[in-house]
Amino acid sequence: MTAPASTRPAPGVPRPYHFPTFTRTQVDSGLRVIACHLPGRRVGSARLVMEGGISREPAELAGAATLAARTVTEGTESMDAAAFAEATEQLGADISVDAGWDSIQGSVVVPVSRLEPALALLSDAVLHPTFPPNEVARLKSERLNDIKQEYADPNQRAHMAFVNTIYTPESPFSRPSGGSAATVSRLDRDAIEAHFRRYAGPQDATLIVAGDLEGFDAAAVADRLFGAWKGGAPAPATPPVAEALTATSVNLVHRPGAVQSSIIVGHVGVPRLVPDFLPTTLMVSILGGLFTSRLNLKLREEKGYTYGARAWFDFRRNAGPFGAATAVATGVTVEAIDDTLTEIRRLHAEGVTPEELAFAKDYLVGIFPLAFETPEAISQAISRMVVYGLPDDYYQTYRAAMQAVTVEEASQAATEHLRPERIAIVAVGDPDLEGPLEEAGFGPLTVTQDSPDVL
């Protein structure tokens, strides 16, 4: 027996890794098809990326995209909702359709041996949905109940108050992604169906198939299942969003007796296609994206205020939010806000250190083979490429581009994209925090009290 080694082992020689290659075809209907052959991956992932995301909803129809997406698997011209669910389960498939801010996506996860019949079900849902009135009514009532639950959850409540503070009411991003109680309760079946039919069509859609595709002719399958797809019209530019915040503000949402305060500090961020996307990603990872980020080390590992603290840019076609969030014991609410602001100010003013940058790069570059271990993860990555119009070699060149980011570029991104002098502070917590928050002098305090019947 030998004594434990006291020095850390050096890494071995890395095995070369490349993001998987894929092929593109287009079927006669106009649908684009991306096939990604992954030898040995026997559970495949297919993803149908469509236009009609939540960002396109007019304010009065907020919630339509989410409900439309949920309804298309709840009844087709040949199957009712239960029959569709049973057919899916017969294949052992997981089939869902969901609305995001910038797309509606259908997803299929199934052993590749049953990929075609499972895709046939997705095709049926998307090409021949009937939006049965009873199912629409049920899903709408479920969504209204979900909204009540979102109000009751302190972290979700904080997020609602946060986006409501930083965006103008006309901006889709000011609302919960599934719509608010006011808008959802006004939605009718026709509006939900109309939203889907307006956008769901082959001209703006891409089918992504990933997995062991030996013997699977993606183009031929897509042609059989989506060749006759008609409908939708080309989507115009995504409607703009606007910022509401004119000065630093503090909003306390009352939660009497709460043992913790859920805090979000932030402002409107930048769009996904911002030229310095990689420096911005690195900078925010250093602030609050990694376990060893400045915020988590300060608030958790040094102060013990919280189970965790994080910061993020929510990258969308239009400028999504930048936020820093944590949940802390009620008694240290002011201190935690102060520490969060201090860290944002410090990064904004002083930038990143070479050591921090090297570390964040090591993580974001090194994580590639893990992050893309499964077909589902790969199809998700390719879908981001599709939605944001990134070049086909994006993931092939990503790691070199990330490595090339300099300290100056990452620091510049912090200076340009963080704005500590005009920032929203939201806390969901005990009403007794009003006094301490006033005294702290972060900015003018407003108080929100949710009345039970507002819901």
Binding site: P14, A85, N145, D153, V259, D362, I367, L370
Partner: protein, 431 residues
């Protein structure tokens, strides 16, 4: 094109022990250039003694606070810097620590795990203990105390398992016991349970077994065994609770919700597998019985579910839940829920239902097994809990072999009124 078409994965592995008792399981698979390590210690919250609830979990936090050659937070820094992911989790029967990294960093994570198994106490101090005590108390606040319905699992455990039973208390523990945990408690816990002969180390992914074995021997080989690991606590219980327990829980919730707990036979019994299949037929997916009846059909429920925890200590916990669409509908919902379960006895699953349930769990297993981290976790799990890592390959066939009649029998034996606790969460202003 349904279940049982020979697609079930086979995980090939070797199984050996070091001189100090550390069990080493290796399963090479070069498909992706990644390697996963999953280290299970045979200690969980069921091993805690009165007055020390939450200690196993608090201890898990201390494992990230540095060891002989590793500084505070450095474990995270080194693994993240290698492009890897990591964490630790504590559950009733065990505590596990895991990392997945690009495969050329495998030796680093073996060294990190060995450094804290052999040298945690060199770095243990009052300051880090107080810091992580605060972190864990905030974890409890965030995940239990300040979260709608957050107390449900604590209440179910307390009601399904009698006082003094190892599963009577939750893994997070009580604030009082967390406050009382001392450095000496943490040291004693480490000396008792964190020994190589109480652990299973699984490595899965892209590596050479002979090389990896050399690393394991080099880094773990000299850590002394503890010849006096206490036997696990006796969790044996009568199979049934004996009488229904009912509690109304006013909480800061907008909608009433039922939580229904049952005492179940433990994982590792044919009854547990049959019950698992019953839960799939009852409530997994939109084609399931309770979803079709309560959510889609009668529209009494916003959501419905049921599942059984994979516990081994003499008994386990099965838990169902359903959220009422309206406050007035809670009673009707509860009645329909119980009826739906009783109906599974009168009308056992059809061939079609069994086929769908099997296809669903088969796909889930295949999907999970695509990740090296999941395979490493299963190998350690079955080696720790049943001394049989081969169950990684045999569990799915066992589940697929469950018959409709066995589902009926398990439902009739376990999911019965005299064996359940019903918690009714109701909005506090309405209570």
């Amino acid at each position: 094109m349904t279940a049982g078409n020979g697609q079930a994965p086979t995980v090939n592995f070797t199984d050996e022990r070091l001189g100090n008792g550390l069990r080493l399981i290796m399963s090479p698979d070069p498909l992706a250039p990644v390697a996963a390590v999953n280290l299970w210690y045979n200690v969980g919250s069921r091993h805690e003694v009165p007055g020390q609830t939450g200690l196993a979990h608090l201890f898990e936090h201390m494992m990230f606070q540095g060891s002989r050659n590793v500084g505070k937070a450095e474990h995270f820094r080194l693994v993240s810097g290698a492009g890897g992911t990591l964490n630790g989790t504590t559950w009733v029967d065990r505590t596990n620590y895991f990392e997945t990294v690009p495969s050329h960093h495998l030796e680093l994570i073996l060294w990190l795990e060995a450094d804290r198994m052999g040298g945690l106490l060199d770095a243990l101090g009052q300051e880090t203990l107080d810091n992580q005590r605060d972190v864990v108390k905030n974890e409890k606040r965030q995940s239990y105390d300040n979260r709608p319905y957050g107390s449900s699992s604590e209440k179910l455990q307390a009601a399904v398992f009698p006082k003094g039973h190892p599963y009577h208390h939750s893994t997070i523990g009580s604030m009082e016991d967390l406050d009382a945990a001392s450095l000496e408690d943490v040291r004693a816990f480490f000396r008792t349970y964190y020994a190589p002969n109480n652990a299973v180390l699984s490595i899965v992914g892209d590596f050479e077994p002979d090389v990896a074995r050399g690393w394991v021997e080099k880094h773990f080989g000299s850590i002394p065994a503890n010849p006096n690991i206490p036997a696990p606590p006796d969790g044996s219980l009568p199979p049934l609770m004996g009488a229904e327990v009912r509690q109304t829980v006013p909480d800061r919730v907008p909608m009433s919700r039922l939580y229904i707990g049952y005492r179940s036979p433990p994982l590792g019994t044919p009854e547990f597998d049959a019950l698992s299949m019953a839960t799939v037929v009852l409530a997994q997916g939109k084609g399931s019985r309770l979803y079709g009846d309560l959510v889609r059909g009668k529209e009494l429920a916003q959501d419905v579910g049921i599942g059984a925890y994979e516990w081994v200590g003499g008994a386990a916990l099965a838990m169902g839940w359903a959220t009422a669409r309206t406050e007035e509908g809670l009673e009707a919902l509860e009645e329909a829920y119980h009826e739906g379960i009783a109906d599974l006895v009168k009308n056992p699953p059809t061939d079609d239902e069994m086929t769908r349930a099997r296809a669903t769990i088969e796909r889930e297993e295949l999907e999970a097994f695509q990740r090296v981290s999941e395979r490493a976790d299963r190998l350690s799990m079955y080696a720790t809990l049943f001394d049989d890592p081969g169950l990684t390959n045999h569990r799915l066939p066992s589940l697929l072999a469950v018959t409709s009649e066995q589902v009926r029998e398990a439902t009739e034996a376990i999911l019965v009124p005299e064996n359940r606790v019903v918690l009714s969460y109701v909005p506090e202003d309405a209570a």
